[in-house]
Point group: C2
Chain length 208, copies 2
DNA sequence: GTCTATAGAAAGATAGAC
DNA sequence: GTCTATCTTTCTATAGAC
Protein backbone atom coordinates (compact mmCIF):
# COMPACT_ATOMS: atom_id res chain seq x y z
CA UNK A 1 0.00 0.00 0.00
CA UNK A 2 1.48 3.26 -1.03
CA UNK A 3 -1.21 5.23 0.68
CA UNK A 4 -0.64 5.55 4.39
CA UNK A 5 -3.32 4.99 6.93
CA UNK A 6 -5.06 8.35 6.79
CA UNK A 7 -4.25 10.10 10.04
CA UNK A 8 -7.18 11.31 12.01
CA UNK A 9 -8.03 14.96 11.33
CA UNK A 10 -6.06 16.98 13.80
CA UNK A 11 -8.31 18.62 16.31
CA UNK A 12 -7.04 18.91 19.82
CA UNK A 13 -10.28 20.04 21.43
CA UNK A 14 -12.38 17.36 19.79
CA UNK A 15 -9.86 14.66 20.66
CA UNK A 16 -9.65 15.79 24.24
CA UNK A 17 -13.43 15.79 24.55
CA UNK A 18 -13.64 12.36 22.93
CA UNK A 19 -11.13 10.96 25.39
CA UNK A 20 -13.02 12.43 28.35
CA UNK A 21 -16.32 11.05 27.10
CA UNK A 22 -14.91 7.60 26.47
CA UNK A 23 -13.17 7.59 29.83
CA UNK A 24 -16.33 8.59 31.64
CA UNK A 25 -18.27 5.74 30.07
CA UNK A 26 -15.50 3.25 30.70
CA UNK A 27 -14.87 4.24 34.33
CA UNK A 28 -18.60 4.16 35.07
CA UNK A 29 -18.84 0.65 33.70
CA UNK A 30 -15.73 -0.99 35.08
CA UNK A 31 -14.05 1.37 37.55
CA UNK A 32 -10.57 2.80 37.67
CA UNK A 33 -8.78 -0.52 37.86
CA UNK A 34 -11.15 -2.32 35.55
CA UNK A 35 -10.35 -0.42 32.40
CA UNK A 36 -7.09 0.27 30.58
CA UNK A 37 -5.93 3.24 28.61
CA UNK A 38 -6.01 1.14 25.45
CA UNK A 39 -9.71 0.56 25.87
CA UNK A 40 -10.40 4.20 26.61
CA UNK A 41 -8.43 5.18 23.54
CA UNK A 42 -10.31 2.72 21.38
CA UNK A 43 -13.59 4.15 22.59
CA UNK A 44 -12.40 7.58 21.50
CA UNK A 45 -11.20 6.31 18.16
CA UNK A 46 -7.54 7.07 18.75
CA UNK A 47 -4.42 5.21 19.78
CA UNK A 48 -3.52 4.49 23.36
CA UNK A 49 -0.60 6.84 23.39
CA UNK A 50 -2.77 9.93 22.95
CA UNK A 51 -4.39 9.47 26.32
CA UNK A 52 -1.14 10.04 28.09
CA UNK A 53 -0.18 12.80 25.69
CA UNK A 54 -3.33 14.75 26.53
CA UNK A 55 -3.68 13.99 30.21
CA UNK A 56 -0.23 12.98 31.37
CA UNK A 57 -1.35 9.79 33.06
CA UNK A 58 -4.33 7.59 33.64
CA UNK A 59 -4.64 8.99 37.14
CA UNK A 60 -4.81 12.59 35.94
CA UNK A 61 -7.40 11.62 33.37
CA UNK A 62 -9.48 10.04 36.12
CA UNK A 63 -9.23 13.18 38.22
CA UNK A 64 -10.47 15.32 35.33
CA UNK A 65 -13.37 13.00 34.69
CA UNK A 66 -14.42 13.12 38.34
CA UNK A 67 -14.05 16.89 38.49
CA UNK A 68 -16.19 17.28 35.39
CA UNK A 69 -18.94 15.17 36.88
CA UNK A 70 -18.88 17.04 40.17
CA UNK A 71 -19.21 20.34 38.35
CA UNK A 72 -22.57 19.27 36.96
CA UNK A 73 -25.64 19.80 39.12
CA UNK A 74 -27.63 16.75 40.08
CA UNK A 75 -30.27 15.58 42.47
CA UNK A 76 -28.71 17.43 45.35
CA UNK A 77 -28.31 20.72 43.53
CA UNK A 78 -29.51 23.75 45.51
CA UNK A 79 -32.27 24.52 43.02
CA UNK A 80 -33.96 21.21 43.66
CA UNK A 81 -33.45 21.46 47.37
CA UNK A 82 -35.04 24.87 47.73
CA UNK A 83 -38.02 24.43 45.45
CA UNK A 84 -40.41 22.19 47.37
CA UNK A 85 -40.61 19.50 49.99
CA UNK A 86 -37.04 18.36 50.40
CA UNK A 87 -37.96 14.82 51.24
CA UNK A 88 -40.20 14.39 48.23
CA UNK A 89 -37.68 16.02 45.94
CA UNK A 90 -34.91 13.76 47.16
CA UNK A 91 -37.03 10.63 46.95
CA UNK A 92 -38.35 11.30 43.48
CA UNK A 93 -34.97 12.45 42.27
CA UNK A 94 -33.06 9.44 43.43
CA UNK A 95 -35.69 6.99 42.21
CA UNK A 96 -35.93 8.59 38.78
CA UNK A 97 -32.25 9.00 38.22
CA UNK A 98 -31.18 5.55 39.34
CA UNK A 99 -33.80 3.85 37.18
CA UNK A 100 -32.10 3.20 33.88
CA UNK A 101 -28.64 3.91 32.57
CA UNK A 102 -29.05 7.55 33.41
CA UNK A 103 -25.83 9.39 32.83
CA UNK A 104 -26.30 12.17 35.38
CA UNK A 105 -25.27 9.80 38.13
CA UNK A 106 -22.23 8.41 36.41
CA UNK A 107 -20.43 9.97 39.31
CA UNK A 108 -21.75 7.54 41.85
CA UNK A 109 -21.15 4.62 39.55
CA UNK A 110 -17.60 5.67 38.96
CA UNK A 111 -16.91 6.09 42.64
CA UNK A 112 -18.46 2.77 43.57
CA UNK A 113 -16.59 0.93 40.88
CA UNK A 114 -13.35 2.70 41.63
CA UNK A 115 -13.51 2.45 45.38
CA UNK A 116 -10.96 -0.33 45.46
CA UNK A 117 -8.27 2.00 44.21
CA UNK A 118 -6.82 3.97 47.12
CA UNK A 119 -6.06 7.00 45.00
CA UNK A 120 -9.48 6.94 43.35
CA UNK A 121 -11.20 6.75 46.73
CA UNK A 122 -9.28 9.77 47.97
CA UNK A 123 -10.22 11.80 44.91
CA UNK A 124 -13.84 10.78 45.34
CA UNK A 125 -13.92 11.66 49.03
CA UNK A 126 -12.46 15.10 48.48
CA UNK A 127 -14.91 15.93 45.70
CA UNK A 128 -17.93 14.61 47.59
CA UNK A 129 -17.07 16.62 50.67
CA UNK A 130 -16.33 19.79 48.74
CA UNK A 131 -19.45 19.71 46.63
CA UNK A 132 -22.33 17.55 47.75
CA UNK A 133 -21.81 17.32 51.48
CA UNK A 134 -20.97 20.96 51.94
CA UNK A 135 -23.99 22.12 49.93
CA UNK A 136 -26.38 19.73 51.58
CA UNK A 137 -25.21 20.51 55.11
CA UNK A 138 -25.86 24.20 54.56
CA UNK A 139 -29.22 23.59 52.95
CA UNK A 140 -30.34 21.47 55.87
CA UNK A 141 -29.15 23.51 58.81
CA UNK A 142 -30.22 22.72 62.34
CA UNK A 143 -28.76 20.26 64.80
CA UNK A 144 -26.40 17.59 63.56
CA UNK A 145 -26.66 19.00 60.05
CA UNK A 146 -23.36 17.47 58.99
CA UNK A 147 -24.26 14.02 60.20
CA UNK A 148 -27.74 14.17 58.69
CA UNK A 149 -26.35 15.37 55.37
CA UNK A 150 -23.81 12.57 55.37
CA UNK A 151 -26.49 9.99 56.08
CA UNK A 152 -28.65 11.33 53.25
CA UNK A 153 -25.69 11.04 50.92
CA UNK A 154 -25.06 7.53 52.19
CA UNK A 155 -28.67 6.53 51.51
CA UNK A 156 -28.55 7.92 47.99
CA UNK A 157 -25.30 6.08 47.39
CA UNK A 158 -26.70 2.87 48.84
CA UNK A 159 -29.81 2.96 46.66
CA UNK A 160 -27.63 3.65 43.67
CA UNK A 161 -25.29 0.82 44.53
CA UNK A 162 -27.94 -1.78 45.19
CA UNK A 163 -30.00 -0.76 42.18
CA UNK A 164 -27.43 -0.25 39.48
CA UNK A 165 -24.24 -1.90 40.66
CA UNK A 166 -25.45 -4.98 42.47
CA UNK A 167 -28.77 -5.11 40.65
CA UNK A 168 -30.82 -6.29 43.63
CA UNK A 169 -34.04 -7.58 42.11
CA UNK A 170 -36.42 -6.02 44.59
CA UNK A 171 -35.01 -2.59 43.81
CA UNK A 172 -34.24 -2.98 40.13
CA UNK A 173 -37.72 -4.29 39.30
CA UNK A 174 -39.71 -2.22 41.77
CA UNK A 175 -42.25 0.32 40.60
CA UNK A 176 -40.71 3.78 40.91
CA UNK A 177 -43.81 5.21 42.57
CA UNK A 178 -43.66 2.62 45.32
CA UNK A 179 -40.03 3.26 46.04
CA UNK A 180 -40.67 6.98 46.15
CA UNK A 181 -43.56 6.45 48.55
CA UNK A 182 -41.30 4.51 50.91
CA UNK A 183 -38.40 6.90 50.66
CA UNK A 184 -40.24 10.21 50.96
CA UNK A 185 -41.01 9.98 54.71
CA UNK A 186 -37.49 8.70 55.32
CA UNK A 187 -35.95 11.75 53.70
CA UNK A 188 -38.53 14.05 55.27
CA UNK A 189 -37.48 12.81 58.66
CA UNK A 190 -33.81 13.37 57.96
CA UNK A 191 -34.45 16.81 56.51
CA UNK A 192 -36.51 17.86 59.52
CA UNK A 193 -33.79 16.74 61.88
CA UNK A 194 -33.96 15.80 65.54
CA UNK A 195 -36.62 17.82 67.30
CA UNK A 196 -35.92 19.46 70.64
CA UNK A 197 -36.70 17.13 73.50
CA UNK A 198 -39.75 19.09 74.54
CA UNK A 199 -41.28 18.65 71.13
CA UNK A 200 -40.06 15.19 70.29
CA UNK A 201 -43.14 13.28 71.27
CA UNK A 202 -45.40 15.63 69.41
CA UNK A 203 -43.58 15.02 66.19
CA UNK A 204 -46.05 14.12 63.45
CA UNK A 205 -48.82 13.90 66.00
CA UNK A 206 -50.31 17.25 65.06
CA UNK A 207 -53.59 16.00 63.67
CA UNK A 208 -53.88 12.89 65.82
CA UNK B 1 24.76 -20.82 54.68
CA UNK B 2 24.69 -24.57 54.88
CA UNK B 3 21.35 -24.57 56.60
CA UNK B 4 18.47 -24.34 54.22
CA UNK B 5 15.62 -21.99 54.75
CA UNK B 6 13.55 -24.01 57.16
CA UNK B 7 10.44 -25.10 55.32
CA UNK B 8 7.20 -24.25 56.97
CA UNK B 9 5.77 -27.09 59.03
CA UNK B 10 3.52 -29.04 56.75
CA UNK B 11 -0.07 -28.65 57.77
CA UNK B 12 -2.62 -28.52 55.04
CA UNK B 13 -5.57 -27.45 57.17
CA UNK B 14 -3.70 -24.67 58.90
CA UNK B 15 -2.29 -23.40 55.63
CA UNK B 16 -5.66 -23.42 53.98
CA UNK B 17 -7.21 -21.52 56.87
CA UNK B 18 -4.35 -19.02 56.85
CA UNK B 19 -4.85 -18.36 53.16
CA UNK B 20 -8.58 -17.84 53.62
CA UNK B 21 -8.03 -15.47 56.51
CA UNK B 22 -5.41 -13.46 54.68
CA UNK B 23 -7.56 -13.35 51.55
CA UNK B 24 -10.57 -12.14 53.48
CA UNK B 25 -8.60 -9.29 54.99
CA UNK B 26 -6.98 -8.38 51.69
CA UNK B 27 -10.19 -8.48 49.63
CA UNK B 28 -12.00 -6.39 52.22
CA UNK B 29 -9.29 -3.76 52.07
CA UNK B 30 -8.60 -3.53 48.36
CA UNK B 31 -11.18 -5.60 46.46
CA UNK B 32 -10.80 -8.43 44.02
CA UNK B 33 -8.78 -6.48 41.49
CA UNK B 34 -6.84 -4.49 44.04
CA UNK B 35 -4.92 -7.34 45.56
CA UNK B 36 -2.64 -9.97 44.10
CA UNK B 37 -2.03 -13.54 45.08
CA UNK B 38 1.49 -12.59 46.15
CA UNK B 39 0.10 -10.24 48.77
CA UNK B 40 -2.43 -12.77 49.99
CA UNK B 41 0.31 -15.38 50.24
CA UNK B 42 2.58 -13.01 52.15
CA UNK B 43 -0.23 -12.34 54.61
CA UNK B 44 -0.53 -16.05 55.19
CA UNK B 45 3.23 -16.50 55.56
CA UNK B 46 3.64 -18.70 52.52
CA UNK B 47 4.74 -18.37 48.94
CA UNK B 48 2.47 -17.20 46.17
CA UNK B 49 2.36 -20.55 44.50
CA UNK B 50 0.52 -22.19 47.37
CA UNK B 51 -2.58 -20.11 46.83
CA UNK B 52 -3.19 -21.66 43.47
CA UNK B 53 -2.17 -25.07 44.71
CA UNK B 54 -4.86 -24.96 47.39
CA UNK B 55 -7.63 -23.12 45.60
CA UNK B 56 -6.93 -23.59 41.90
CA UNK B 57 -7.20 -19.95 40.99
CA UNK B 58 -7.67 -16.51 42.45
CA UNK B 59 -11.30 -16.52 41.38
CA UNK B 60 -12.07 -19.78 43.15
CA UNK B 61 -10.40 -18.45 46.28
CA UNK B 62 -12.58 -15.36 46.11
CA UNK B 63 -15.70 -17.47 45.75
CA UNK B 64 -14.79 -19.47 48.85
CA UNK B 65 -14.13 -16.33 50.85
CA UNK B 66 -17.51 -14.89 49.89
CA UNK B 67 -19.29 -18.14 50.65
CA UNK B 68 -17.64 -18.29 54.05
CA UNK B 69 -18.75 -14.78 54.89
CA UNK B 70 -22.31 -15.34 53.81
CA UNK B 71 -22.54 -18.38 56.03
CA UNK B 72 -21.93 -16.23 59.11
CA UNK B 73 -24.82 -14.39 60.72
CA UNK B 74 -24.53 -10.62 61.08
CA UNK B 75 -26.52 -7.54 61.94
CA UNK B 76 -29.49 -8.71 59.98
CA UNK B 77 -29.56 -12.15 61.51
CA UNK B 78 -33.00 -13.24 62.69
CA UNK B 79 -31.97 -13.33 66.34
CA UNK B 80 -31.19 -9.64 66.35
CA UNK B 81 -34.28 -8.78 64.39
CA UNK B 82 -36.67 -10.54 66.70
CA UNK B 83 -35.27 -9.50 70.05
CA UNK B 84 -36.26 -5.86 70.47
CA UNK B 85 -37.13 -2.71 68.59
CA UNK B 86 -36.08 -3.47 65.08
CA UNK B 87 -35.22 0.11 64.27
CA UNK B 88 -33.02 0.56 67.30
CA UNK B 89 -31.35 -2.80 66.76
CA UNK B 90 -30.59 -1.98 63.16
CA UNK B 91 -29.32 1.51 63.94
CA UNK B 92 -27.09 0.48 66.81
CA UNK B 93 -25.87 -2.55 64.93
CA UNK B 94 -24.86 -0.74 61.82
CA UNK B 95 -23.23 2.10 63.70
CA UNK B 96 -21.25 -0.16 65.98
CA UNK B 97 -20.14 -2.57 63.35
CA UNK B 98 -19.09 -0.04 60.76
CA UNK B 99 -17.04 1.93 63.27
CA UNK B 100 -13.60 0.40 63.22
CA UNK B 101 -12.08 -2.41 61.24
CA UNK B 102 -14.78 -4.72 62.44
CA UNK B 103 -14.57 -8.03 60.67
CA UNK B 104 -18.24 -9.04 60.85
CA UNK B 105 -19.09 -6.81 57.93
CA UNK B 106 -16.18 -7.77 55.74
CA UNK B 107 -18.84 -9.00 53.40
CA UNK B 108 -20.12 -5.58 52.52
CA UNK B 109 -16.63 -4.22 52.18
CA UNK B 110 -15.58 -7.01 49.88
CA UNK B 111 -18.61 -6.57 47.69
CA UNK B 112 -18.20 -2.83 47.49
CA UNK B 113 -14.55 -3.07 46.67
CA UNK B 114 -15.04 -5.84 44.19
CA UNK B 115 -18.08 -4.37 42.47
CA UNK B 116 -16.06 -3.50 39.41
CA UNK B 117 -15.56 -7.15 38.65
CA UNK B 118 -18.60 -8.46 36.82
CA UNK B 119 -18.22 -11.91 38.24
CA UNK B 120 -17.84 -10.56 41.76
CA UNK B 121 -20.99 -8.46 41.41
CA UNK B 122 -23.00 -11.46 40.28
CA UNK B 123 -21.78 -13.55 43.20
CA UNK B 124 -22.62 -10.74 45.57
CA UNK B 125 -26.13 -10.20 44.22
CA UNK B 126 -27.00 -13.88 44.41
CA UNK B 127 -25.75 -14.20 47.97
CA UNK B 128 -27.43 -11.01 49.17
CA UNK B 129 -30.76 -12.02 47.75
CA UNK B 130 -30.57 -15.56 49.04
CA UNK B 131 -29.54 -14.67 52.55
CA UNK B 132 -30.03 -11.12 53.73
CA UNK B 133 -32.90 -9.92 51.58
CA UNK B 134 -34.95 -13.06 51.93
CA UNK B 135 -34.53 -13.14 55.71
CA UNK B 136 -35.25 -9.49 56.16
CA UNK B 137 -38.32 -9.47 53.93
CA UNK B 138 -39.86 -12.26 55.97
CA UNK B 139 -39.00 -10.62 59.26
CA UNK B 140 -40.62 -7.37 58.18
CA UNK B 141 -43.81 -8.58 56.59
CA UNK B 142 -46.61 -6.21 55.70
CA UNK B 143 -47.07 -4.15 52.58
CA UNK B 144 -44.15 -3.67 50.23
CA UNK B 145 -42.00 -5.86 52.46
CA UNK B 146 -39.59 -6.69 49.66
CA UNK B 147 -39.06 -3.08 48.69
CA UNK B 148 -38.68 -1.98 52.31
CA UNK B 149 -36.20 -4.74 53.01
CA UNK B 150 -34.21 -3.81 49.93
CA UNK B 151 -34.12 -0.17 50.98
CA UNK B 152 -32.94 -1.10 54.46
CA UNK B 153 -30.17 -3.16 52.93
CA UNK B 154 -29.31 -0.28 50.65
CA UNK B 155 -29.08 2.11 53.60
CA UNK B 156 -26.83 -0.26 55.53
CA UNK B 157 -24.65 -0.64 52.47
CA UNK B 158 -24.56 3.11 51.89
CA UNK B 159 -23.53 3.88 55.47
CA UNK B 160 -20.89 1.21 55.22
CA UNK B 161 -19.61 2.56 51.93
CA UNK B 162 -19.46 6.19 52.96
CA UNK B 163 -18.00 5.41 56.33
CA UNK B 164 -15.40 2.80 55.59
CA UNK B 165 -14.78 2.88 51.86
CA UNK B 166 -15.01 6.54 51.00
CA UNK B 167 -14.22 7.71 54.51
CA UNK B 168 -16.56 10.69 54.49
CA UNK B 169 -15.38 12.80 57.40
CA UNK B 170 -18.78 13.59 58.83
CA UNK B 171 -19.53 9.90 59.15
CA UNK B 172 -16.10 8.57 59.97
CA UNK B 173 -15.54 11.05 62.78
CA UNK B 174 -19.09 11.27 64.07
CA UNK B 175 -19.98 10.14 67.57
CA UNK B 176 -21.65 6.74 67.34
CA UNK B 177 -24.46 7.76 69.66
CA UNK B 178 -25.38 10.67 67.46
CA UNK B 179 -25.49 8.57 64.34
CA UNK B 180 -27.62 5.98 66.09
CA UNK B 181 -30.00 8.70 67.26
CA UNK B 182 -30.46 9.90 63.71
CA UNK B 183 -30.79 6.45 62.22
CA UNK B 184 -33.13 4.85 64.75
CA UNK B 185 -36.31 6.69 63.66
CA UNK B 186 -35.36 6.14 60.03
CA UNK B 187 -35.20 2.40 60.50
CA UNK B 188 -38.27 2.43 62.75
CA UNK B 189 -40.22 4.01 59.96
CA UNK B 190 -39.06 1.47 57.42
CA UNK B 191 -39.71 -1.42 59.76
CA UNK B 192 -43.23 -0.19 60.54
CA UNK B 193 -43.98 0.17 56.87
CA UNK B 194 -46.57 2.31 55.17
CA UNK B 195 -49.46 2.77 57.53
CA UNK B 196 -53.03 2.70 56.31
CA UNK B 197 -54.14 6.21 55.48
CA UNK B 198 -56.46 6.39 58.50
CA UNK B 199 -53.65 5.67 60.95
CA UNK B 200 -50.81 7.53 59.38
CA UNK B 201 -50.99 10.65 61.50
CA UNK B 202 -51.07 8.80 64.78
CA UNK B 203 -47.73 7.13 64.18
CA UNK B 204 -45.31 7.63 67.09
CA UNK B 205 -47.80 9.76 68.97
CA UNK B 206 -48.58 7.10 71.54
CA UNK B 207 -47.11 8.67 74.66
CA UNK B 208 -47.60 12.28 73.71
C1' DG C 1 3.96 -29.67 51.19
C1' DT C 2 6.82 -26.13 50.24
C1' DC C 3 10.00 -23.72 47.77
C1' DT C 4 12.61 -20.92 43.72
C1' DA C 5 12.37 -19.72 39.10
C1' DT C 6 9.97 -18.50 35.16
C1' DA C 7 6.59 -18.58 31.44
C1' DG C 8 3.02 -15.78 29.16
C1' DA C 9 -0.20 -12.05 29.12
C1' DA C 10 -1.47 -7.42 29.96
C1' DA C 11 -0.92 -3.15 32.08
C1' DG C 12 0.95 2.05 32.00
C1' DA C 13 4.08 4.89 29.99
C1' DT C 14 7.67 6.45 26.43
C1' DA C 15 10.57 7.06 21.89
C1' DG C 16 10.80 8.58 17.56
C1' DA C 17 8.99 8.67 12.67
C1' DC C 18 5.80 11.34 9.81
C1' DG D 1 -1.24 15.82 16.25
C1' DT D 2 -1.08 11.18 15.39
C1' DC D 3 0.86 6.93 14.69
C1' DT D 4 3.61 2.19 15.40
C1' DA D 5 6.76 -0.08 18.14
C1' DT D 6 8.77 -0.94 22.48
C1' DC D 7 10.27 -0.50 27.42
C1' DT D 8 9.31 -1.77 32.07
C1' DT D 9 6.58 -3.50 35.50
C1' DT D 10 3.26 -6.47 37.45
C1' DC D 11 0.02 -9.90 37.29
C1' DT D 12 -1.70 -15.04 37.29
C1' DA D 13 -0.34 -19.47 36.77
C1' DT D 14 2.91 -23.35 36.09
C1' DA D 15 7.32 -26.36 36.18
C1' DG D 16 10.37 -28.81 38.66
C1' DA D 17 13.73 -29.36 42.67
C1' DC D 18 13.80 -30.82 47.52
Amino acid sequence: MSKKVPPRPRNADATRAAILSSARRAFARAGYDGVGVREIAAGAGISAMMVNRYFGSKEQLFAEVVAGIMATPMILAPENLASRSLGAALAEGVVAQTASGATPLDGFLIMMHSASSRRAAEIARAEIEQHYHRQLSRALGGALAQERAAIILAIVAGIQAMRQVIGLSALAKAQPARLAAILTPVFDQLVAGPLPAARRRRHSAKTG
